[in-house]
């Protein structure tokens, strides 16, 4: 008996599914009660495993939807209870109660979620329902936070607390923080709609009111401090108990209400506004203003324009003040001081902002050129610094000063006028031996060359070369004629190449015989080695050192001009001379002679001559004597004619006239250059191009340009176009 055994089959285990009609209700009751316990802080007595399983089975047996519905219902019920409790809270306890209930709800929600985890992972996603936790938050939101009473009360409470804090009271910040965090947890749109937007609105009106009050009562600097304080406060507030994204928004509100809306009024405040700050170098206030107004639209550009018009205005009154024009060196010093002042402001308070520097530059350019004597005065200033007498200042200081002067130079429109004056003044310095330091002179020259190019300084350098060569020539002269020396006066000759030096009209002068003979010997020597050249003595530019023994026994060495020397030498053969006699003997032009005699006889401490009568002006029959009572503390006495001064009116007109004449060929050359390249060009374009080309030297007048064009037409360099009369054509 072999019974065939069937292979073992594993059959699915079949439960006896009991569709217990009461299955759902029973299960649900378990959960429902559990939830209740959870909300009543009695969770410890529950079995997580059992509850989980219950929920699991419910979902498994397709009771998901109902479970979900019931969950909503139950939670809503509990939330309603909570709501009542919160609403009942009085005064300050409101937020605390809210907070407490929120914590409770959160804890409950976590547990509920854990219990219903299976549903969360299966039913909910497939049916696109809101997850349990999020559902819990939504319910909280709808039942509590957005319930009509609580919504309003919550917002007002928060805003009131913030207001109190702004007014100086201390509030419970952690409570605030947790409340706003709650709102954030409910969703950023909840935070924004229910809190942030109204918060910003209320803040705007708060700051609007406060700013209005402050601006009526505070000076500008004080106001700015308050504004800064408020900004700092708000930033701290956000950091402490608001959402980070609010920072930008509340800052914008404060900036708008406190700064933007009052910008004009603040800047223009009398006695404390921007202008006052600039004038009085209030660096702290200016720094604050710069930093605060960075965030204001057009803030910086408004500061810039206020500064610019102020600088232009004060500059303008400086350069047009007749009092200031009396002393050129002082005039320029003030300009330099002004520049220093604003450079400091920009570097200390405005963070070296490039656009401010540019604004300053254009302001200076504007007012420096309002006074057409600026080029002359700047040259006089440099002259003053480069003369002897600056010995106490060391090399470095002089360098710094010169660099600053170069900045002013750059602002000049009429650089060619400056060049003319600089040449004149340099010549006087070099010839009178009053240049303090060769190095400083050369350094200045290098600066000018760097700025303006080689042509500007080539002639000036020629002057230095001439002097060096002259030294060598004089040495050569004495080397060659050593035997003749004897007691002839020693001469030192400076041979100036015409063209490098400013032209001076040379006038007559009869040299004393001793001088004449030695100078003629020199001329012979020079022409011996330099055939074909012509030498003309410039008697109006020389100096002499004379040893004098006065009647009272005092001996001195006088440093005088050539003219003065001629006059004094006359007294070697006469005790008394009238003006007429002196004029005849020396043949010096009257204007110069009078000035010369005045400097010899009428200047206290230098009156080596005596005049009768003692009046100031010189008439033909005045008598002159050597002043035998002359005394001086120094052995060597300088009675040279005065240093360079600013020109008199006629001299000024003369110089300007010469400069204008010099400009004409430059303009013509520019026109020809341009037309040669472009062949055909219209009038306005020519004017623009010419102005651009000549800009480093001077600003050409469009009328002068027009006249030059007409002159070039006349001379057949250009012609008008036959069809368009505004165009010109280059004629090869």
């Amino acid at each position: 008996m072999s019974s065939k055994k069937r292979p073992a089959r594993i059959e699915p285990f079949r439960h006896r599914v009991e569709t217990d009609p009461k299955f759902f209700d029973k299960s649900w009751k378990k959960l429902h009660d559990a939830i209740r316990e959870i909300y009543n802080h009695n969770a410890s007595g529950l079995s997580f495993e059992e509850l989980y399983r219950t929920a699991y089975n419910m979902v498994l047996y397709k009771h998901g939807p109902k479970l979900y519905e019931n969950l909503i219902e139950t939670m809503t019920g509990h939330l309603q209870e909570m709501r009542r409790s919160i609403e009942a809270a009085q005064g300050g306890l409101f937020l605390e109660e809210l907070q407490r209930k929120w914590d409770d709800h959160n804890k409950a929600l976590q547990m509920i979620r854990d219990v219903l985890m299976y549903m969360d992972r299966t039913y909910i996603p497939t049916h696109k329902k809101t997850a349990v936790f999020d559902l819990g938050l939504e319910l909280w939101r709808d039942n509590i936070v957005r319930s009509s009473n609580i919504r309003v009360r919550l917002l007002n409470t928060l805003l009131d607390l913030i207001h109190s804090e702004r007014m100086g009271e201390v509030i419970n910040r952690s409570l605030m923080r947790s409340t706003t965090k709650m709102l954030m947890d409910l969703g950023s749109s909840v935070y924004q709609d229910d809190f942030e937007r109204p918060f910003l609105k209320v803040s705007a009106s708060f700051y609007s009111g406060e700013s209005q009050q402050f601006i009526e009562s505070c000076a500008c600097g004080e106001y700015l401090k308050k504004a800064q304080k408020r900004l700092d406060e708000e930033a701290e507030r956000v950091a402490q108990y608001l959402d980070a994204k609010t920072d930008e928004k509340i800052t914008a509100v404060v900036v708008k209400e406190a700064l933007t809306n009052h910008m004009q009024r603040l800047f223009l405040m009398e006695d404390s506004g921007l202008v006052n700050m600039l004038v009085e170098d209030k660096y702290e206030d200016l720094t604050m203003m710069y930093n605060l107004f960075q965030r204001v639209p057009d803030g910086h550009s408004t500061i810039k324009s206020v500064m610019t018009s102020h600088v232009k205005e004060s500059g303008r009154s400086l350069v047009t003040d007749p009092e200031r024009l009396k002393d050129p060196v002082d005039f320029v010093q003030r300009l330099l001081n002004e520049k220093d002042k604003y450079d400091n402001i920009i570097s200390i308070s405005f963070g070296n902002d490039k656009s401010f520097q540019n604004a300053l530059t254009s302001s200076f350019e504007y007012f420096i050129n309002l006074n057409n004597r600026s080029p002359e005065f700047i040259s006089l200033y440099v002259d003053d610094k480069l003369r002897k007498g600056m010995k106490d200042a060391n090399e470095e200081d002089v360098e710094t000063v010169l660099d600053k002067v170069m900045m002013l130079f750059r602002y000049l429109q009429e650089k060619d006028l400056f060049e003319k004056y600089y040449k004149q003044h340099l010549a006087k310095r070099l010839l009178s031996g009053r240049a303090a330091s060769d190095d400083s002179e050369r350094s200045m020259l290098v600066k000018l060359k760097t700025e303006c190019g080689y042509q500007f300084t080539s002639k000036l350098e020629g002057m230095f070369t001439d002097l060096k060569t002259s030294q060598d020539t004089t040495q050569g002269f004495y080397g060659a004629s050593s035997s003749d020396a004897g007691d002839a006066p020693l001469i030192s000759v400076q041979i100036l190449t015409t063209g490098s030096w400013p032209t001076q009209p040379c006038s007559t002068c009869n040299l004393p015989p001793e001088i004449l003979s030695v100078s003629e010997k020199f001329r012979a020597y020079y022409l011996g080695t330099h055939n074909g050249r012509r030498l003309t003595w410039q008697t109006n530019m020389g100096t002499a050192d004379i040893k004098v023994t006065f009647g009272n026994g005092s001996k001195h060495e006088l440093n005088v001009s050539t003219y003065q020397m001629c006059v004094l030498m006359l007294f070697n053969s006469a005790d008394c001379l009238t003006y007429n006699e002196i004029e005849q003997a020396t043949a010096i032009p009257p204007v110069d002679l009078k000035r010369c005699l005045q400097s010899l006889a009428l200047v206290k401490g230098k009156n080596v001559l005596r005049k009768e009568p003692m009046s100031r002006d010189i008439s033909p029959n005045d008598n002159f004597y050597v002043n035998d009572k002359f005394t001086s503390k120094l052995f060597k006495v300088k009675i040279g004619t005065v240093a360079v001064q600013k020109e008199s009116e006629p001299e000024k007109m003369e110089t300007r006239h010469r400069v204008e004449e010099d400009r004409k060929p430059q303009i013509e050359a520019a026109i020809v250059r341009i037309m040669k390249a472009r062949r055909v060009l219209d009038h306005n374009s020519i004017v623009t191009e010419v102005t651009k080309q000549l800009q480093p030297r001077f600003l050409p007048n469009p009328v002068v340009i027009k006249k030059r064009i007409e002159s070039l037409i006349e001379r057949e360099f250009l012609e008008r176009d036959k069809t368009d009369r505004k165009m010109y054509r280059y004629l090869a």
Binding site: H683, V703, K706, E710, R725
Partner: protein
């Protein structure tokens, strides 16, 4: 007008001198002195005007000179004279006399006027000069614009005498015609950027300053 009168004075004076110097001049055709057989000079021109029954100051003389492409006022070379007669289309003095009205009318023609105007500058110039003497220029302008009715002619001449007092350049001469043609007497369409010669800019300023025109700046 004024200039021809002064010129004629000089002519008469030189005529007297010439009479003394050259005792035997004959006139070919009653016009050409033997001495300068190839030139009609000043007195010849005056004779010509007589024959044509025309005032020497009549503008038609300018027109005729233009036809002849005469180089200088009151002087005609043989070539210029005969070529000119040919271009006018006549071969006798009588025919020329008949043609006078139509010649005078040529001034009215815009195109011809421009040519005559520009021709006049070199023609009225002193020999060897680049510019036109002011007095001569003023005389010419009065002559030329008399028939064209330029309202500002008087102001222009006055302005020149008061403010300028120098000779007139060719550019100024030719640009003035443009000015007369394009700019209305109230200067409403005058443009400062219009590349007008400097003298004309000054003229506009002069008119404005003296209230002759109302310009909106």
């Amino acid at each position: 007008m004024y200039f021809l009168a002064s010129l004629l004075n000089r002519i008469i004076f030189s005529l007297v001198i010439l009479r003394f110097l050259t005792s035997d001049f004959m006139m070919d055709l009653g016009l050409l002195p033997e001495r300068d057989a190839d030139m009609i000079m000043v007195e010849g021109t005056s004779q010509l005007c007589n024959d044509l029954l025309v005032d020497p100051q009549d503008v038609v003389m300018l027109v005729i000179s233009w036809h002849m492409k005469a180089a200088t006022m009151c002087e005609f070379t043989r070539q210029e004279f005969f070529d000119g007669l040919q271009s006018i289309g006549v071969d006798s003095i009588e025919k020329l006399r008949e043609k006078l009205p139509s010649l005078r009318a040529e001034i009215k023609d815009d195109h011809k006027f421009r040519e005559i105007y520009n021709f006049a500058f070199a023609w009225a110039r002193e020999k060897g000069q680049k510019s036109l003497a002011l007095e001569t220029a003023i005389g010419m302008w009065r002559l030329l614009f008399d028939g064209r009715h330029w309202p500002l002619i008087d102001h222009w001449c006055q302005f020149l005498q008061v403010k300028h007092n120098k000779a007139i350049s060719r550019d100024t001469w030719s640009q003035l015609l443009e000015f007369v043609k394009t700019i209305d007497p109230q200067l409403t369409n005058y443009d400062e950027e219009g590349a007008w010669p400097y003298l004309i800019d000054e003229f506009v300023e002069y008119l404005t300053e003296n209230g002759c025109v109302q310009r909106r700046k």
